[in-house]
Structures are given as structure tokens and as C-alpha cells.
Amino acid sequence: MTLLALEGVGKSYRPGHPVLRGLDLAVRDGEWLGLLGQSGCGKSTLARIALGLERPDTGAVLYRGRPLAGLRGAEARQARRDLQLVFQSAAVSLNPRLTAGASIAEPLRNFEPLDRRGRAARVAELLEMVGLRPEDAGKLPGQFSGGQLQRICIARALAPTPRLIVMDEAVSSLDLVGQARLLDLLAGLRRSLGTACLFITHEIRLARRFCDRVAVMDGGRIVEEGPAAGIESMARHPAARALFDAVLPPLPPGMAAR
């Protein structure tokens, strides 16, 4: 069943310079959809619109078939809870004055009827889930490395047990091994929680490894969409081809044949 759908979404910040033009995209329940595109193609704008943080100029965002913008009261709260975002830069998406525990507890405060003890227990559990120690709850963001900060952000996004997590280039700042480690962790959580993910990246190798389907964005639209396996050979649109042709070779020249 379709969890979140963008239908004919258009957005421009300056007249005559549309960022998105009539974009259609759908994420199914439990599905991992990779969204690829070159820098500046409007991926981050799409993420914000998909979460209802910005209103599209035209078109609509449908959450379980209902317009996101039209939801009120308890339904709006449920949608807010179900759709979570992990930002590109962990360092600036955590309040530097709040401890890691306080940041992770924030969605729990808003969505879960837990007392202080219950929240602390849940925070400890979430920290362990993302591979950090429960004691880390008392530390400030300045005391963590980049990869650890991103884990805190993921723990915060997982806290309200969302149905969809949007990862906006959320692992791009880490080295490739770090990215793979973090995604392995997410893939494991996915198996146990069934959370869907809109995985925005420009790293095709990661999308191919972790996603079910891949969509390629160019000029504010989706130009190519298909199953992650084999998308490279099937892609026809020039922008998609350029992206796939630019993938780095796995082995030095001359060794590839073996």
C-alpha cells in the first residue's frame, strides 16, 4: 500500500526558476526508495515538502491517500509522528545546548505518554540500538564525532517509531565505510521495525546496496524509476545515464575482467 505520494508537486522560490516541476513519486509501506540526482537538482526541497515542512506551490502530498496539508488534530499529529527526517548535517541539526539524551527524548515528550523514568529508559534503549552507550545520553553534541552525531540523529528519528524516515544525504559526510556501517544498522532496524525509507543520496553504490527501488531526479522531475537491481543497465534518460556512467570502477583498470 502507498504510504506517501507526491502528485504533480511544483515549487519555486524565485519566479521563473522552478526547483520542482510537476514531480510524481510514491513510497510504499516498508519500502526503501533511493532518490538519486546531481547536486542542486531539488532533492532537499523535495524532502521538506514530503514531510510537510514546506507547502508545494502546485500539486499535493498524500499521506495514506489523504492530503497531508488537510490533516487536522489527531490525524495531523499521527502524520507528524509517522514521518521523520534525518538531516544532511548532524552537527547543525542537534541543539548544541541540549544533551544527546534530551534531543532523543524530544519526540518522546511530544508523542509518548511516558514519565521521566520511562523516557530515560527508552532513550538508553535507542542509544544502544544505534550502537552508542546509554551513558552517552548525558553528553553534549560537541563531545561526539561526526559519525556518532549522525547516530544520535537517527536515534531521534527512530524514537517515535515512524513509518517513514527521510534521509536527506544523511550519511554523505561520513567516509564510505562509515556510511555502509550506519546503513547496515538501519537495514537491521528495518528488518525488525518495517520502517520505510526515502534515501536521498548521490552515491549510487549505496542506493543499489540498500534500496528496493531507485528514482533519478533531474531538472525538478523524476526522469527514471525502477528496481534497484539492474537500474543502471535499464536507464535511458541522459541525466540518469550520466549519473550511472560516473560510478567509480570497483577495481583498477585491467582487473575488472576477472
Binding site: 507528524r80 538531516f87 541540549l98 553534541p141 556518532q148 531521534r156
Partner: protein
């Protein structure tokens, strides 16, 4: 909570500890000065005028024979109390109005900022004089006048801070986490704004003291015979060449206050800066 953490994480350097002690002493003087003073600060004794320091009068007497120490102690209530009141009001008004403008944006923001600009175009002292002229003399009116002439500076600063902070990813992240608008302001925006504003305010205290004292000096604030440091300097002017020490005492008190709060402002800035607070980074 963050303040508490900052306080605990802080092992203050000696200068800061000294400033904290001095601030506590000044606060004590402000609250209890009139009752601690050994003599009635307004009691005139012409036969004792302009006496040098003695056991009975450790800081001597002024041109009307009043005990200088008593006047200094009693005067603290007005001098420091006025500044404390001004600070509280200016911060509330400035941060409140500025945050409103910063959060609202658009026309509300523009309207509030134009009002601020109108206040900012006139030098603060002239503006304060104008308000005292309209409101009449007296300590309460001096406070009102200084607040009215200063709030716009704070509002502008708060507005700029809020406008910058509300675009931060972590504020957006709070929205994603389901935190309402008001709570977002309280939890994520105001602490950062207040930290900055407290630094500004602590550096501004000296300026405000001089305003209050200046207005008293002109005879618009506290009126004789009530003691106030600015009034004391004014009174001592007549005997400046024969008894310069009479200007020195209230002058020293004003200087001590200004230095104390400047140092506290520096300390506060370090304590509230999350980058400095975190200490060493994890490897």
C-alpha cells in the same frame, strides 16, 4: 538546566571568582544597605562637615556633615536597584518584542523594526532626558526613561538572533519531532538568545549606571537629600579641589560595579558558549 550544567562545568578562574564575590556583596548592599548603614544618611550635622576619615566616620563626612559610608551604603539601593530594575525591564521588553518580530517575520516584523528604528535614531541620553521631561522627575521615572531609551537596542539584537536561529536545522528538527511553536521558542530559541543578551546586558550595566547617575547628577532622578551615587558626585563637585576624596568614593563604587559586571559578562560568555563548554572533542 543548561545554566546549571554550565555552572557545574565551570571551574571559574580567580578573576571570575572575585567578580562573583563582588557581585554578591553589591547585591547584599542593594537589598540591605539602608539598614546596615551606621548612621542616618540624610542626617545633617554642619559642625562635622568635611571631616577626614576617623574611627567614627571611616570615610569621613561630606559638606553637610553627613556620614559618607552611610550614604554610600544607602545609596546602593537606589543606584543598583534602579539598574537592576532597568535590566529586568529592558531584557523582558527587548527580548519579548524582538523575538516576536523575529518569529513573526513579514509585516509584523517590519512594523516593529520601524518603531525600533525611530527610537534608535535619537541618542539614548537625549531620549532619556525627553522621557524624564514628559514623565517628571523621580527614581521610578528615571527607570522608565532609561528603559524606554534602551529597549530598542535589545529588541533589534534579539530579533536578529531569533531570525537567524529559527532557520537552524535543529529548530526545524524540533518541528519534525512534534514540538509546538511555543515550546520550540522556549526550548530551542530563547536559551540561545538569552545567553547572548545576558552578555550584552552585563556589558551594558555600566552604561546604564552612568545614565541613572547622570540623570541624578542633573537633578532629574533622585533628589537631595536622598543618597545616590550620582547625587553624591554632584554634591562633591563643589569641594572637588579641597576634598577630592568625596568624589572618589562614589566614583570607586560605580567603577567597581562596572568592572564586576564586565568580568561576569566575559565569564558568562565563556560559560554559555556550547563550543567552549564541551571541552575536548571526542576522537
Amino acid at each position: 538546566m543548561t545554566l546549571l550544567q554550565a555552572g557545574m562545568a565551570l571551574r571559574p578562574p580567580p578573576g571570575l571568582r572575585l567578580a562573583s564575590v563582588s557581585a554578591l556583596l553589591l547585591a547584599g548592599l542593594m537589598l540591605f544597605g539602608p539598614w546596615l548603614a551606621p548612621y542616618d544618611p540624610t542626617e545633617v550635622a554642619l559642625d562635622l562637615k568635611l571631616m577626614g576619615p576617623s574611627l567614627a566616620h571611616p570615610l569621613g563626612t561630606d559638606h553637610l556633615g553627613r556620614d559618607v559610608l552611610s550614604r554610600l551604603m544607602a545609596g546602593a539601593q537606589v543606584s543598583l536597584g534602579a539598574v537592576a530594575a532597568i535590566l529586568a525591564l529592558v531584557l523582558t521588553l527587548g527580548v519579548g518584542i524582538g523575538s516576536l518580530a523575529g518569529m513573526a517575520g513579514g509585516r509584523t516584523d517590519a512594523a516593529i523594526m520601524r518603531v525600533c528604528d525611530a527610537f534608535l535614531t535619537i541618542p539614548t541620553f537625549i531620549l532619556a532626558l525627553f522621557f524624564v521631561g514628559v514623565l517628571g522627575t523621580g527614581p521610578a521615572n528615571v527607570v522608565t526613561a532609561v528603559v524606554l531609551s534602551h529597549w530598542a537596542w535589545y529588541a533589534r539584537m534579539a530579533r536578529a538572533l531569533v531570525a537567524g536561529l529559527k532557520r537552524q536545522d535543529y529548530v526545524l528538527a524540533a518541528r519534525v519531532a512534534g514540538t509546538g511553536r511555543l515550546m520550540t521558542v522556549v526550548r530551542h530559541i530563547l536559551p540561545a538568545v538569552l545567553a547572548q543578551m545576558a552578555i550584552l546586558a552585563s556589558l551594558d550595566i555600566g552604561h546604564m549606571m552612568l545614565h541613572v547617575s547622570g540623570l541624578s547628577f542633573l537633578g532629574l532622578g533622585v533628589t537631595p537629600p536622598d543618597p545616590e551615587w550620582g547625587v553624591m558626585i554632584n554634591d562633591a563637585r563643589a569641594v572637588l579641589w579641597t576634598q577630592p576624596v568625596l568624589v572618589l568614593w562614589p566614583g570607586l563604587m560605580i567603577m567597581l560595579t562596572v568592572m564586576t559586571f564586565n568580568r561576569l559578562g566575559d565569564g558568562l560568555r565563556d560559560a554559555l558558549d556550547p563550543a567552549l563548554q564541551a571541552g575536548g572533542k571526542a576522537p
